[in-house]
Symmetry: C2
Subunit: 186 residues, 2 copies
DNA sequence: AAGATGTGATACAAGCATGTCTCAGAAACA
DNA sequence: TGTTTCTGAGACATGCTTGTATCACATCTT
């Protein structure tokens, strides 16, 4: 990778991304000051890393998508129930990333690159469910588009429970698997 | 009811609420100008009806909760699967109302009255699921708190599908029923 | 150690949304 | 019809956020 920057630069960058996701998730209309404070850096430094608030939000969204995709990469070959279970196990602990995308979608949906990547990820999901239906793993009386929406929303429900303190991440993952597979499997 | 106002006043009020919900749902950071435009009224008039943006948002949330509760009222005596099916049928066409609450929760979660009403509605939901579990309608290996979260999220998934144009409201309702009851029923 | 690079603090200009006020005109009421 | 009530348009002050620029200082590199 390109190591063209100082250690400090990389450290700030990381702090910004982490704090940015957390802060905007908690308060979607947080300003640059609030984000800088949360990251433990000066506002001026934040602007040195990102030209504008819009650029920052965009970068955060892209990062979340990249990380999500990277986490799913190893399980690309799986399909049907096995794929669903693997994806849930991988995604449940990544609360922030996926949730950032779902909750703050309206902030980035206009961006072309973001939209392109999202479309690709969605298509992969649809394929996965389509395959599962064809293989007899999933019920045939529900369209793949519904399964994809249902899957995302069920993951969100799991995170809700974890955030509310009503369940651990592992417990929530179990609930998600049980309810989703019972709701779509056959 | 108290008819202490002009027809115009009532008409503006209604337009503001309708446009407010729709506009803020589309763009959570919409300003008073944008909302007034959407309602087809002047910004000054908007301020005559609501002292501040915060008061407006609060009113919108309370309205959504009232309408939701009023719609559910007639089915209060139902329980188990029948209750779930009835609630889905009633709520699916009310996309905006419930979705406003879910999507813009962070804007109103600080308000005491809003929180009180929300807590009551959630408790009623929990009771409903608890009863269903006791009656053998729902699986006993899933906590009622999960079922409540799962139920809300599945409704959201249905609305997502409708909004994306992938299904009609009736179709989505059928998907929601099928997947939710299969995912929690036994 | 010396130079390069990144940082925090601060000041600053500009834009935007908020909330207030006024006034002329339109619509409702009785 | 005459009076009351509501409205739209616009001016206005204010505060907040954005984005830029500067300077002294700290940290990294070599």
């Amino acid at each position: 990778m390109s190591q063209k920057h100082d250690r400090r630069f990389a450290r700030s960058q990381q702090a910004i991304i982490e704090a940015g996701i957390a802060t905007l998730l908690r308060n979607p209309s947080a300003g640059m000051s609030e984000i800088a404070d949360a990251a433990g850096i000066g506002r001026a430094t934040l602007y040195r890393h990102f030209d504008s608030r819009e650029a920052l939000v965009r970068k955060l969204a892209l990062t979340c998508m990249e990380e999500t995709q990277a986490a799913l990469q190893p399980h690309e070959d799986l399909s049907g129930r096995a794929a669903v279970e693997a994806i849930i196990d991988v995604l449940m602990p990544m609360t922030d990333r996926f949730r950032f995308l779902v909750s703050l979608w309206s902030l980035v949906e206009g961006d072309a690159q973001v939209a392109r990547i999202e479309a690709r990820m969605r298509d992969e999901m649809l394929d996965m469910f389509q395959q599962g239906i064809a293989a007899g793993d999933f019920r045939a009386d529900l369209p793949a588009s519904w399964m994809a929406a249902f899957f995302d929303s069920t993951l969100m429900a799991g995170w809700t429970l974890v955030e509310a303190g009503s369940a651990t991440s592992a417990e929530a993952a179990a609930f998600v698997k049980r309810s989703f597979l019972a709701g779509c499997g056959k």
